[in-house]
């Protein structure tokens, strides 16, 4: 079960993911990112502070946007992951393909730098 909230802060769209993302709920993450990209945001931050679990279905969603985000020059940064969630990204080597930061402040800083 996952709850996804979106809020906007100084030009960035923040997608807050609360709960667990598995094969039954990854579609909700997909829809939230698609909406954010579709609305034209150039800085998208994913708040993972309350993300308790992610399976390959959720990882696959992030992977599937990498090229589109690059093509559209969208800064996309995830932040606030718990160690066990980050470990799932690391096992597959995805931590190197995605921008991941410890907290919101660092994520915003990186998004600003990437969008210059």
């Amino acid at each position: 079960m996952v709850h996804i909230k979106r809020l906007q802060e100084v030009g960035a769209d923040i997608i807050a993911v609360v709960g667990e993302i598995d094969a039954s709920s990854s579609i909700e993450l997909d829809l939230a990112i698609a909406k954010s990209v579709g609305e034209g945001y150039k800085k998208i931050l994913v708040d993972c502070q309350a993300l308790e679990y992610i399976s390959s279905a959720g990882l696959g969603v992030f992977m599937s946007y990498i090229e589109e985000l690059r093509d559209k020059n969208i800064s996309f940064v995830l932040f606030g992951m718990k160690e066990r969630v980050l470990n799932t990204f690391s096992i597959l080597g995805l931590a190197d393909l995605l921008n991941i930061r410890e907290n919101k402040q660092e994520a915003k800083k990186l998004a600003d730098e990437l969008s210059v």
Binding site: M1, E20, D22, A23, S24, S26, D30, Y53, S55, S56, A57, L59, G60, V61, M63, S64, Y65, I66, E67, E68, E83, R84, N87, T88, I91, L92, G93, L94, L97
Partner: protein, 136 residues
């Protein structure tokens, strides 16, 4: 020690599968990261089976057995009577290809193979048994 859990093949039941594993391994001196990885691997195996062998039919059932013969040694068995879905037969896709093709699937198999020590398939009593072993 042995534990068993039966569940219908609805993806909504994956949460129950994860909770069963966490409960069963509670007190086994498994670190949070190792427990997280085991839960993840079994979630991947069960969801693969539910999707590919049972088409998410909630009236089809799978059983998950956990055996802990000695401390630190874990044997997980997923038992069903659908068509065999042997992940050893699947080539893991390269990450670059997944990104380029914008594919959302294919990562689960790589995860399971990275986390578990051994993945075997058996046919016992008319049922498929996928046995995963992990020593910590």
């Amino acid at each position: 020690m042995s534990y068993q859990y039966n569940t219908g093949c609805s993806l909504n039941n994956l949460k129950g599968v994860r909770e069963f594993i966490r409960r069963s391994l509670d007190g086994q001196e498994v670190s949070d990261l190792e427990l997280g990885a085991i839960v993840l691997a079994l979630d991947e195996m069960c969801s693969n089976l539910m999707i590919h062998a049972h088409h998410c039919n909630p009236d089809h059932f799978i059983a998950l057995n956990i055996h802990i013969p000695v401390k630190g040694q874990f044997i997980f068995e997923i038992i069903d009577d659908g068509s065999m879905f042997d992940i050893n037969q699947f080539q893991e896709p390269k990450l670059d290809n997944l990104v380029h093709e914008k594919r959302k699937g294919g990562l689960g198999i790589r995860l399971v193979k990275s986390i578990m020590d051994k993945i075997e398939y058996l046919h016992e009593g008319g049922k498929n048994v996928c046995r995963l072993t992990k020593t910590i």
